[in-house]
Symmetry: C3
Subunit: 203 residues, 3 copies
């Protein structure tokens, strides 16, 4: 795939992930520094964990665009905070683009570093999901993706599709189809409130 | 010590640590992905922190056996979840084997990397205990090993025994005795409800 | 600046940060191991994150002085715990020295590693603040610096002053003025209960 397209989606995802932290942080009475930090950690947490695990340089330390995008997003989000409450549909839309982009970038980086298929899928999923896990931990909540959302599952499904199609279709198609699979699974499950099963213990 | 024996114990410990997360995750209404993730993090968290600190390659990224064992353990644990409640004795038994094995592996890796005695003991303890700390943090609880269990203490005691005997006895004995010390201290303290002292503040 | 002075302040900060964890850990009924671990993580957490991010060797793995200082601090703090309650002014004083020292050390290390100005300020702030964030997370609280304290903000202000003066004044002055800026902002905001603004959502 043209890497620049992926890079644009990456930036959209970074902004959307930062945005996802602003309203919950305000609700927890955090001050402006707290709001910014939570937004920052949510946006870069997944990529940081990925880079630490695969011993790659931490991407946002070397490319300031991420930092600028997060700063800009937080400033705008705080100013327009009362409108954001009514924009949850749009925010979810961009967040899902971020999920797709982060999954693809994670897989690509792990593959370039020579890891096995299963590990590449795991790293794609971590890249996409770990930021939200830290966000919820700092907000003193059980991470939402562990409890009820089909979120990581969309990312895992994308990873499986990616490696099923790799070397079968041209790379551009593999990337586009994977991104769409993640996007569609996440969007449909959100819209129709489809959740993963939980299991019960006998009373 | 024959490294293969330690490796077998390592795998038993990995399964036991993964297992230790399944019932608490079910009780917190986590979905199947959440259960798996908590189990995974509990099993590999200590080793991952160790490898990050000593700049070693992350072990489970390169040896898929860990991943397969965790997947298999979670599947079986979810299927037989109602029996697990009555098996806490057996689970604790294997968990304690894991504690011993992880302590030894952590010490060995840190020693090979040339760290001082105190740091090797600390890294052995982290390898054995950090997974449980992340588990409890994600479950939104104060980590249990900070509050009432003699768990890390068994690991630290093992480390002290290890370096007291090193270069005095043959390595095989050092490993076996250390493993037994950890196992016995943990088992006895659990059985007889021995806890470390807490301290009180004057009212 | 004479690096040895900074090193002395670093040690004072390490002790103060360890100390800051002891009373809250006792209040949460932690046992002696729990108290020590929380103190340890609070004291070395920021530096560890910094070293992981910039791929430097983890400092406390190679310089045992940190470990000894933390052990000694915790022992003394537990023994004199009932007096500590009446010493919060003095503890805050040393904690603020630690904040200044850790900020400077973080900036210096990041600068030596060749990072950009904004990243150096961020790494200085993380070095100074991340230990407290982990402490509060393990204590199962929302990190205090996200909610009401001017703490990180003092560190950020110091970073801005540092790079404003660098190559303008001799290095010794840059270090001293930066340290004083952090110290004064933190001290005044604490004394006069100045906080960063929070924002409200429309009802």
């Amino acid at each position: 795939m043209d890497i620049n397209v992926l890079y644009v989606f990456d930036m959209i995802g970074t902004a959307a992930f930062a945005l996802s932290a602003v309203i919950p942080a305000i609700r927890k009475d955090m001050d402006l520094f707290g709001i910014f930090t939570i937004a920052f950690v949510t946006a870069i947490g997944g990529g940081t964990l990925r880079d630490l695990l695969i011993s790659a340089p931490i991407v946002w330390l070397h490319n300031m665009t991420y930092v600028y995008i997060i700063i800009g997003t937080v400033i705008l989000a705080v100013i327009f905070r009362n409108r954001l409450i009514y924009m949850s549909e749009s925010i979810a839309f961009f967040d899902t683009i971020g999920l797709s982009a982060f999954t693809l970038i994670g897989i690509e980086k792990a593959m370039d570093a020579g890891y096995s298929v299963l590990i590449c899928i795991a790293i794609g999923t971590m890249t996409a999901c770990f930021g939200g896990v830290i966000r919820d931990t700092f907000l003193n909540k059980i991470p939402v993706i562990f409890v009820k959302e089909i979120y990581a599952t969309a990312s895992i499904a994308g990873g499986i599709v990616f490696f099923s199609l790799l070397n079968v279709l041209p790379n551009t198609y593999v990337y586009v189809i994977t991104g769409l699979v993640v996007f569609v699974i996440r969007s449909l499950s959100k819209r129709y409130h489809i959740t993963l099963p939980t299991v019960q213990l006998k009373k």
